[in-house]
C-alpha cells in the first residue's frame, strides 16, 4: 500500500512533468527523425517516406551526389566556404569594434552603441532589392564583387553581421576586468598585443558563440543568397535544395532529405560540440 501511494504521489509531483517533457521532446525531434528515415528510404517519394525506418539504403545519397544537373557537392562546399569566411571575418571585425566600445572612451560612443541596437531591428534582407542593385552596379566595375560571386555575397553578409555581433560581444568584453589590460600595459604590451594575446583568449566562449551564430545565419540564408547567386554552380546548399524541391516536391523527396541531412551535419555537430557555450551564452544574454 505504501509503495502504491508513494507511486501516486510521485506521479502527481514528478511523473506528469516527465510525461510533458517526453511529449515535447517527441514533438521537437519527430520531424528530424522523419527526415533521417526519409533519407535512408529505398524509394525517394513522399509516400515511401511515411514508413519510418522501413528500409535502410544509401540510394538517395547516391542519387543526390551522382546527378550532374544538381551539383550538390559544389553547393555543400560553397556553403562551407561562404559561411566560414563570413563568420570568421565578421568575428574579427566585430571583436575589434566590441573592444573599442568596451575599453576605449571616445566621442559618439553612447550613440554608437544605441545605433548598434537599432540596426538589429532592421534585418538586412529587408533591403534585398537595394542590395541586389548595389551588387550589380559594383560588379559592372569590379567583377569580383558582383552578382554570382562568393566574395560579393560575403561582403554583403559582413555588413549585416556587424551590428548584432558587436552588441553580443560588447557585453561579454565588459565582464573581463580592466585591471588585466592595465597590467599588460604596464608590462609594455601595445594595445594590439593586449587585444590579440590577452583579451581575445579570455573572451573565447563568446567568440565561439558568435562564430556559430553567424555561420548558422549565413548557411541558412535564402533571401540574399538567392538574389545574388543565380548560377547553379555558385549557389549555396539552401538555395540549391529549395530549387530542387520546389519544382518536383514529391519526386525529389529522398534526394532532398539526404541533402538536408548532409547540410545540417556541420551545424548539428557544432551544436553538440559547443552546447555548453551556447546555453551559457543564451542565458547570459537573457539575464544580463
Amino acid at each position: 500500500m505504501t509503495t502504491m501511494s508513494s507511486f501516486f504521489s510521485w506521479v502527481a509531483q514528478r511523473g506528469w512533468r516527465h510525461l510533458v517533457a517526453i511529449v515535447m521532446c517527441v514533438f521537437a525531434i519527430f520531424p528530424l527523425l522523419y527526415v533521417v528515415s526519409a533519407s535512408f528510404a529505398s524509394s525517394g517519394t513522399l509516400t515511401a517516406s511515411n514508413q519510418l525506418f522501413a528500409s535502410f539504403t544509401f540510394d538517395n545519397y547516391v542519387d543526390l551526389l551522382s546527378d550532374p544537373d544538381r551539383p550538390y557537392l559544389t553547393w555543400w562546399f560553397n556553403t562551407l566556404i561562404i559561411a566560414a569566411s563570413a563568420a570568421t571575418i565578421a568575428l574579427l571585425f566585430g571583436s575589434l569594434a566590441a573592444y573599442a566600445f568596451s575599453r576605449l572612451r571616445f566621442r559618439g560612443r553612447r550613440i554608437g552603441l544605441g545605433a548598434l541596437v537599432l540596426t538589429q531591428l532592421f534585418p538586412q534582407f529587408l533591403g534585398v532589392v537595394a542590395i541586389f542593385l548595389l551588387v550589380r552596379t559594383l560588379g559592372d566595375a569590379v567583377p569580383a564583387l558582383g552578382l554570382n560571386t562568393h566574395t560579393g555575397l560575403i561582403a554583403v553578409y559582413l555588413g549585416g553581421a556587424l551590428g548584432i555581433n558587436t552588441y553580443l560581444m560588447y557585453g561579454y568584453f565588459n565582464t573581463v576586468p580592466r585591471e588585466i589590460d592595465e597590467a599588460a600595459k604596464i608590462d609594455g604590451a601595445s594595445h594590439v598585443r593586449t587585444f590579440f594575446t590577452i583579451i581575445l583568449p579570455l573572451v573565447a566562449p563568446i567568440l565561439v558563440i558568435v562564430w556559430m551564430i553567424t555561420y548558422i545565419a549565413v548557411a541558412g540564408d535564402y533571401v540574399i543568397a538567392s538574389a545574388i547567386l543565380s548560377d547553379p554552380n555558385m549557389q549555396t546548399a539552401t538555395v540549391g535544395l529549395f530549387t530542387l524541391i520546389n519544382t518536383f516536391r514529391s519526386d525529389n523527396w529522398g534526394a532532398f532529405s539526404a541533402g538536408a541531412i548532409l547540410s545540417a551535419l556541420p551545424v548539428v555537430l557544432m551544436f553538440l560540440y559547443g552546447q555548453k557555450y551556447i546555453i551559457g551564452g543564451l542565458s547570459a544574454g537573457s539575464v544580463k
Binding site: I29, L126, I131, S190, R249
Partner: protein, 523 residues
Amino acid sequence: MRLSTTKPASVGSALRPKASIFGLTVKIILIGLVDAFGLFMVSQFFLVDQIGLAAVAILGLVVINVIYWRRGGLAAKYLTPGLVFLLVFQVFVIIYTVIISFTNSGTGHNVSKDSAIESIINNSIVRVEDSPTYDVRVLEQGGNLFLLATSPDGDFFLGGQDEPLKPVVPSKTASGIATEVTGYNTLKLAQIFAVQEELAELTVPLDDNPADGYLRSADGSTAFVFSANLVYDASNDTFVDPSTGNTFVDNGAGNFVDSNGEELQPGWNTAIGFANYAKALGASAQVELLGVFVWTLTYAVSSVALTFGLGLFLAITINGLRGTRLYRSLLILPYAFPVFLSGLIWSGLLNETFGFVNQVLLGGASVPWLQDPILAKISVILVSVWFGFPYFFLVCLGALQSVPPELAEAARVDGAKPSQVFSKITLPLVLVATSPLLVAGFAFSFNDFNTIFVLTGGGPINIDSSISAGATDILITLVYKQAFVNTTVDYGLASAFAVIIFLVITIMSIFLFRRTRSLEEVY
C-alpha cells in the same frame, strides 16, 4: 594560451622595439593591400563612368589612410574595418532602398532615358514590306563605312551614315554590280566580319527626306529598304509615327505614351515621386495591404506568445527534474537544424495527398493544411512555434535557474505559499529578464520570411489581389515576391513596401521598448 599578466616589466620593454617593427610591417602590408584594392576600384569605377562611386571610393581611401597613419584616434582604428562594411551594406542599403522607392525601377525601366530613346529608334526601324533588294559592297574611307549599292534597275549609288545615297560612277563592276569606287577601300569578307557590329548600325538614308526610308545591310552583300515607324523629335522630346501622325509624349513616369495610353518599350529609370506609395497605400490596394499588415501582426503576436508560453511552461515543468540536462540536449536539436530546411521538411509532412500527418497520423485523411486559407494560417503559426519554443525554453530555464534562492526562501519564511512564491517572486523576475528578448522575438517574427516562404510561398494564391498577396503573405514575403518572383518585377514598389515596413517596425519598437522599460520599473 593565456599570457601571464605578471610578466616582469623588463622582458616586456625588451620586447617592445622588436614587436613594434613587426607590427609596423604588418600594418604597412595591410594598409598597402587596402590601398591597392581601393585604387583598383577607383580606376574601374572611372572606366565604367561611375564618377559618383569613384568619388566615394577616393573619399573612403583618404579617410582610411588618415585614420591609420595619424597618431591617436585609437577607437577609429578598431571600428573602421567593420564600419566600412556596415556603412556600405547596411546603412547605405537602407538609404538606397528609400531612393529606389521613389523611382520606377523594375522590368522595362532599367536604363537611362538616352539609351531608351536609342533603343526605341533602333527598334522602330523595320524593313519595308516587298521593298526591292539592293546588291551592295561595304566600302571604307577614313574609318567610316559606306554602302556602294546597285539598285534592282542597275543604277549605282553611294552613301553612308547620315549621308543620303547619291548616284556614283564605279571604278569597277562585276556582272553588273558595282564593286569599287576610286578613293574608297572595298572590304573583303573577313574584314566585314570584323566590323559586323558597326555594319549592323549603319543606316543610309535613301534621300534627304528621312520618311522615305533607309538602306541597311546585315551581311554586307545585300541590302533592303527600311523605314522608321517612329521618328524622334528632339526639340519637343516626342516620338511621332510618320504614317499616322500619332504622337507619343514623355509621361513623366519613364515612358513615352500616346493619347490612347499605349506605351513605347523600353521605358527608362526615373524618379516618380510618391507614385509607388500611392500604389501601395492607394484606394484599391489599401484594404488588401491593411489585411496583410493585420495578418503580419497576428502572426507575429500569436507566434511569439505561443512560443514563449510553451517555452516558459516547459522550463517551469522540467526545471529541477532528474534528467533536465538530457531533455535540454534533445530540445535544443530543432534549433540546431537550419530553419530553411526544417521548413521544407514540414511542408512535406503537411502535404495534402502524400504527407505523413494526413497519411499516417490521420489515417489517410486529406486535410488541406497548406491549401486552405484559414488552415494555412494556423499551420504556419504552429510550425513557427515548433521553430521557436526550444529557444524560449532554454532562455527561460536559464532565467529560472538564476533567480536567487534567498528571495524564495525569504518569502517562505514570511509565510508565502509555494504558489504565491511562484506567481509573486519567480515569475515576475523571469519575465523581467526575458522581456527584451520578447521584443526581439516579435521583431524577428514580424519579418519571419523563411517560415512563410518555405511552407506556403505566401499562398494559397488570391487571384483577385491587385498586389498579388496570398492568404499567408506577410509584408516581407510580399516585398520579395514583388522584386524577384513575379513575372514583371517592380523594384520601386518592392522598395516602397520595405520602407513602409521600416517605419512600422520603428514605431512599434519605440512603443514596445517603452512598455518593457515601464515593466522593469514596476518590479
